[in-house]
């Protein structure tokens, strides 16, 4: 782990940022020549393995087959080369333009003034070659992120800093200055916490079962492993993904937002802009609660993930704190949201009939700016929603609730997952809230328009 901090401009910034600067001055630039190789990476490796193993292993494979493989390889390489040749970018007056495609040409334009954040992502293979991908996120949420994959890491750093400078409005930012680290997660605790989650527990059970089986009946164990290899692999991959995403996670408070940095193999540096956080969710699984641990996730505005690329990105919008103590979580929430409500109101006792299990933790609290709700029985989930982000307020009263004179209030936000539900409140209280909450939201929005996004800690 020589590259602990991915976004630190090192080496010769002036000289190696030359391409970036030329592009900024309006000259067409290509991506890094190795980028098609990295993009096709997994496919190429697979092909190479298929090619090489019969080639060196045994000479029995018919030579025609090898020609086919070689042909496929050549085609892939040519396609990659062409795609590299036709992809160019440059900065025109106030707009980043990315042209690509040979047959279906596309020309994307990203207005610099609308840039919300620029993230630097380095998948494993790209890191090997010292390349980085720039992801440019625009305001408006639902639009596709711009991608420049891949640039030399130093170029990417220069370009990112300059683009952020050029968008104006916000104070110029260079990559790591003026940051205030809030929290880091020790890998040991992350590892321990993963062992205690659902996936981790299943994995442990499977491993224990396999070991026992191997001792008792080695043949059966081998059969079980070969039969369940795919599932086992999937479990391992999913567990590793979470480990990778949380590895050495650092949360820092920067002038343009919260900056998250993490990753063991695929490193990502990502900025969540101020005022873009729609909700925060704190999850406390049963096993973690015993240790006083919890996880914090932020929800950022955006539509449902569409393509594969978008899905990756959706995943990247994520844990603020993969595992931490409740105090850490509370201090993070306080940093991001400021003054959150501390008092909680439990629902009337008769709600027990409608929600026998979750009644135990069910509560909500609110002040002029935020609402917080708690629910769940095995896994306690606490959601914070800024009232200024609430898109609509819904009152729902089901047949059972009507009999018990209860109803729920939903606070809808533009986030992907988190939406606060004030469940099973007394009907009169709910009616009152239905009148009040939109009004409070309006005032909170006005307050934000004047004072700027709530989350300012400097």
């Amino acid at each position: 782990m020589s590259q602990a901090s991915p976004s630190e401009p090192q080496g010769r910034p002036l000289e190696s940022g030359a391409h970036a600067i030329a592009g900024l001055q309006g000259n067409w630039q290509r991506l890094h020549p190795l980028s098609p190789l990295v993009r096709a990476g997994r496919g190429l490796i697979a092909i190479a393995v298929i090619l090489l193993i019969p080639g060196y292993g045994g000479r029995q494979g018919s030579s025609g087959n090898e020609f086919t493989h070689a042909g496929v390889l050549v085609v892939v390489l040519v396609v990659a080369l062409v795609s590299w040749l036709v992809t160019r970018w440059r900065v025109e007056t106030g707009v980043l333009r990315v042209d690509s495609g040979l047959i279906r040409r596309s020309s994307e334009r990203f207005p610099l003034s609308q840039i919300q954040a620029i993230d630097i992502v380095r998948p494993g293979l790209a890191r090997l070659f010292g390349l980085s991908e720039l992801r440019i996120r625009l305001a408006g949420g639902d639009r596709k992120a711009g991608r420049l994959a891949y640039l030399a890491s130093t170029e990417a750093e220069v370009l990112r800093a300059r683009l952020l400078d050029m968008r104006g409005g916000v104070a110029p930012i260079t990559s790591t200055t003026a940051e205030r680290a809030l929290i880091t997660v020790p890998p040991a605790r992350l590892f321990a916490s993963l062992l205690l989650t659902g996936t981790g527990l299943v994995l442990e059970l499977v491993v224990v079962a396999l070991v026992v089986l191997a001792v008792l009946a080695p043949g059966a164990a081998a059969a079980a492993i070969s039969a369940g290899a795919v599932w086992l692999f999937a479990l391992l991959v999913s567990a590793f993904r979470r480990f990778n995403a949380g590895y050495h996670l650092t949360v820092a408070d920067a002038p343009d937002g919260l900056r998250l940095r993490s990753g063991l193999i695929e490193t990502a540096a990502e900025t969540i802009p101020r005022g873009r956080i729609q909700a925060i969710r704190m999850t406390e699984p049963l096993a973690w609660r015993l240790l006083g641990w919890c996880r914090l996730d932020v929800d950022v505005a955006g539509q449902k993930a569409r393509g594969r690329q978008d899905r990756n990105e959706a995943k990247a919008v994520r844990s603020l704190l993969p595992v931490g103590s409740r105090e850490q979580a509370a201090s993070l929430v306080a940093t991001v949201f400021g003054d959150v409500p501390t008092e909680r109101l439990a629902p009337p006792r008769r709600a027990r009939w409608k929600s026998p299990l979750r009644f135990y933790f069910l509560s909500w609290g609110g002040n002029d700016r935020y609402a917080v709700t708690t629910s769940g029985r095995v896994r306690r989930v606490t959601d914070w929603v800024p009232l200024s982000k609430v898109q609509s307020v819904r009152y729902v009263e089901g047949p059972i609730q009507r009999r018990l004179r209860l109803s729920s209030i939903h606070l809808d936000t533009a986030g992907r997952n988190v939406h606060a539900v004030l469940r099973d409140r007394d009907q009169r209280e709910a009616r009152q809230l239905l009148r009040e909450l939109p009004e409070r939201g309006r005032l909170a929005r006005q307050h934000e328009l004047i004072a700027g996004p709530s989350y300012t800690s400097i």
């Binding site: 305001a139 609509s392 819904r394 009907q427």
Partner: protein, 164 residues
């Protein structure tokens, strides 16, 4: 009824969808009932038993009438109110829902009219916000009213717009 609801009634003046929505729904129920009736007659007639035939016919007609009554209640449950700063939409009989959507949150307004709705001169107006869960659909507005609501929402949305 609960006190809170009465208070709401005082302050909010609900508008209802066009009465033609009731006719449309009744027509739909009638068409479905007729189709079911034809099927029932076909099946029961195939059995060749007069008792089965009459039971099936009576059963389908009763089901149709019940469906019509339910539809009537559901149509009557719809209501909307354009307040100064937000739109209220209520609906549902079993699950009663009231949505409050501030105009400033509006992203776009959609007016849709299927072939049946068009035949009755009706349209559905839906206001979209950034939240997928927002529920601001008003069905069965007369074409004129739908156009008015659309224009009204658009202009209010523009004047009160704010970012995410």
């Amino acid at each position: 009824m609960v006190q809170g609801e009465d208070q709401d009634r005082d302050t909010v003046v609900w508008s209802a969808p066009s009465p033609r929505l009731r006719t449309l729904r009744r027509g739909q129920v009638a068409a479905a009932t007729l189709a079911a009736l034809a099927l029932a007659i076909g099946v029961a007639g195939g059995l060749g038993s007069g008792v089965a035939l009459s039971v099936a016919v009576v059963g389908v007609i009763i089901a149709g009438l019940a469906a019509d009554a339910v539809m009537g209640r559901r149509v009557r449950a719809w209501g909307y109110a354009e307040r100064e700063e937000d739109l209220l939409v209520k609906r549902g009989v079993m699950f009663r829902r009231i949505s409050v959507i501030p105009y400033g949150r509006m992203q776009y307004v959609e007016v849709a009219a299927g072939p049946l709705e068009r035949a009755f001169g009706l349209a559905t107006v839906q206001m979209h916000t950034a939240a997928a869960a927002s529920d601001a659909r008003i069905p069965g507005l007369s074409a004129v009213e739908a156009a008015r609501v659309r224009d009204q929402l658009t202009s209010l949305g523009e004047s009160q717009a704010m970012g995410l």
